[in-house]
Amino acid sequence: MDLSGQRFGSKDPVNAIANMHDRGNGLGGGFAVYGLYPEFEDEYALHIMYTDMEAKRNVEAQLERWFDLLKSEEVPSREANVLDPPIVWRYFAHPKRIHSTQSPDNYVVEKAMRINTETGKAFVFSSGKNMAVFKGVGYPEDVADFFMFEEYQGYMWTCHGRFPTNTPGWWGGAHPFNILDWTVVHNGEISSYDANRRYLEMFGYNCTMQTDTEVLAYAFDLLMRKQRLPIRIVSSILAPKLWSEIDKMDEQDRELYTTLRATYASLLINGPFSIFVARHGEMIGLTDRIKLRPMIAGTKGSKLYISSEESAMRLVSPVLNRCWAPRGGEPVVGRLGSSQVQCVLTQEAAVC
């Protein structure tokens, strides 16, 4: 992420993720790019994949009813080393006929959930403004090749290579997962998935992507967008402190953390994880509370890097001003316009 908001091209992100080629098995790769469509800043950029033309026709009929579409086009692509590409289109949309009590964001979330659940042949890659998710079945560098990344510029890029196991590799199952402008890429396995999923379903989020990571995108949307909780509280919900630590706190803190854990018990994300979550203006890196997956952060000038491996960062920026390994369960947050990267609650193990 460039904290000053300056946009940059795909070369560095793609080289960095390609350097970690052996961590994946080629059955999934993807990117989220922010600041991609400055000329359509105010429109929801819906990126939708279709398994066949009939699905496309049906969904487009619905889109016409739900949205004013300023522009609709196929996402440019070329032949590349990816498996069975679906049809991927993007639409720059304004919600139509919203009820006075519903916000445009909630409207879009509801419509995205409907598209994902109704047909089984159409899935929304991303639904945020001025950003996009590109993903598919192939190594990430091949997915970048397929979607012709040379054209794109963004101030924040997240990248992911997948090694799917529990569910087959398919285009909708690659990371990042998205709702509105939230994207999540994830390394690990969520052993609490069914407990998390069944909790989120009560709030209107349907998990259809056959991948555990999906719950993270919805959890962030629920906690940060809808309930407006700050990141420090959100990470205490997803990666909470141990009771043995809470019991030793002073009374005020103890009550706060006990209330959080008791209320949001079903959103505790169990299992090893390292996640990079992004939305406009903010990039967050977080690992599980006993740090079973790697995560390392670095800064150079106005650029913030977060990665599973240090070498990926060093490839694109051999010299780093700061480089550190965040503690398990404590988030690293980069905010647009802020020159300081917040290492919330953490004392970084400064190294370089």
Binding site: I290, K291, E310, C323, A349, A350, V351
Partner: protein, 277 residues
Amino acid sequence: MLEKNKAHEAVNSAPSKTDLAKLCTSPRCRIEDSIAKIDATGLYYRDLSLDLRHLVHAGIKKIELYNVCGQRYIGTSLKGDIEITISGTPGNDLGAFMDGPKIRVYGNTQDGCGNTMNSGEIIVNGSVGDIPGYAMRGGRVFIRGNVGYRAGIRMKEYGARIPSIVVGGTAGDFLAEYMAGGTIVLLGLNLEARQFHKSMHVGTGMHGGRLYVHGKIAGLASEAVLEELTSEDLSRLQQLVTDFSRHFRYDPAQILDREFYKICPGSGRPYGGHYAY
């Protein structure tokens, strides 16, 4: 198509010394004064590993690697008295299963440094990632900076074979988890006055081995106890600190002047009472 078993040619016979220049697949490899120098830019780890094996087989004892960036398993499968100097950021499992060679890194390493190492030495002018020295059986690892989570997990020892890890800085959680033998020295040289190591759950499941620590530790597991150093401990500590200081140009006397305490297992059978019938 799974490429994991892509065949590599076997090394059949030692090529003559005049063919040394042809040993490397890397286009940027040269041999000067019996030292092989490889520019590893863009080199896939398997190709680099093959080059190293060829060189060692041909009798080269000193190798220098430049622009290393993420290549894994450097030093794995090598035996004997070899010296490798690395500049850059080596990838995961540096020196994994290594038996004999000495590796020096100018830069940070990633996870798994010294994984199940049998003998040899790894010296890092920087920090290392998680699980360094996992299941280490022998040899020594010296780290100027910090170690990540689970350093020295499952380290062992037998008789005179006592592996050691010396850390100049601080450590992440679960240091010395499951430790069954070996020595870890935590120097805390980068801790400011009145700061302490934020490591939690240090020594969970420990039932052998020892740590010599300078600086308070945030969370000690119940299986571990604090003790004073015996004279045997002191001489062991002195030896390790002296070597550490030599590698990184510190004054050993200054380091040894600080207060150290020992962490060791409280019992050989910490969970004996947990099972019934």
